[in-house]
Amino acid sequence: MEWVYFGTSIAILVTMVLAVVRGLIGPTIFDRVLAVNMFGTKTVLFLAVISFLSGRPDFLDLALAYALINFIGVFAVLLFFQSRGVRREAEAEREADK
């Protein structure tokens, strides 16, 4: 079974590298957020596979905690960028009033 875990973790690692590359070159901010979200999900899967590969089930708790943190982090960033357009409009209006 070792080689199956090994192959799966290699596939997940390659995907994580691809996600990081997309996050670095991604033309819009949302591409970067998407890449970060995907990286987080892959980290959860990777931790789960590694816990079986190394025979330490404690890693599953880390995976669960990471899933929670990742979700909240993505939402915080998205709320910030979603309201940015509205805030920019308001700022432009304030500038126009001066």
Binding site: T8, P27, Q82, G85, V86, E89
Partner: protein, 168 residues
Amino acid sequence: MELLLDIASAVLLLTGGFFVFVGGFGVMRMPEFFTRMHAASLTDTGGAALILVGLMLQGGLTLVPLKLAAIFLFLFLTSPTASYALANAALLSGVKTACRNETGTQLPENKPVAAGSNLTTTPVSKVSASKTDTDKAVAKKTAKKAVARKPAKKAVKKTAKKAARKKS
């Protein structure tokens, strides 16, 4: 029985790894944002489900499959929510798509994202389906300002009239 479980979980894990890899490749190669989201959601559903179920089969009768089930449940609740929020935010801030409508003609506002621009922003008020509370608040503000400006203009006119009278 042991061998059967091993084979089943090996098949599930390797298929899951394949799905994850294909999704990552799609995120790298797809032409624009929404197609990239489609590729990423493939890894979130297919890849995650297959890998976690494959690991569950290997857990035996311990707490491990329960924890894996918790991770599974949590991922399947959160990843669609995150995808929805991401697509919504992208749509509201005017990320362009390269898709075509039913007749095959290109959508009129379809322009490639300008190179070097970090974020394409069209004003939120231009998106017809985005009459949010904040929009209404902005509209109210502008209305109030317009009301406040009118007396000022009248005052200016009055002073101008006075000045004209003085001159005459």
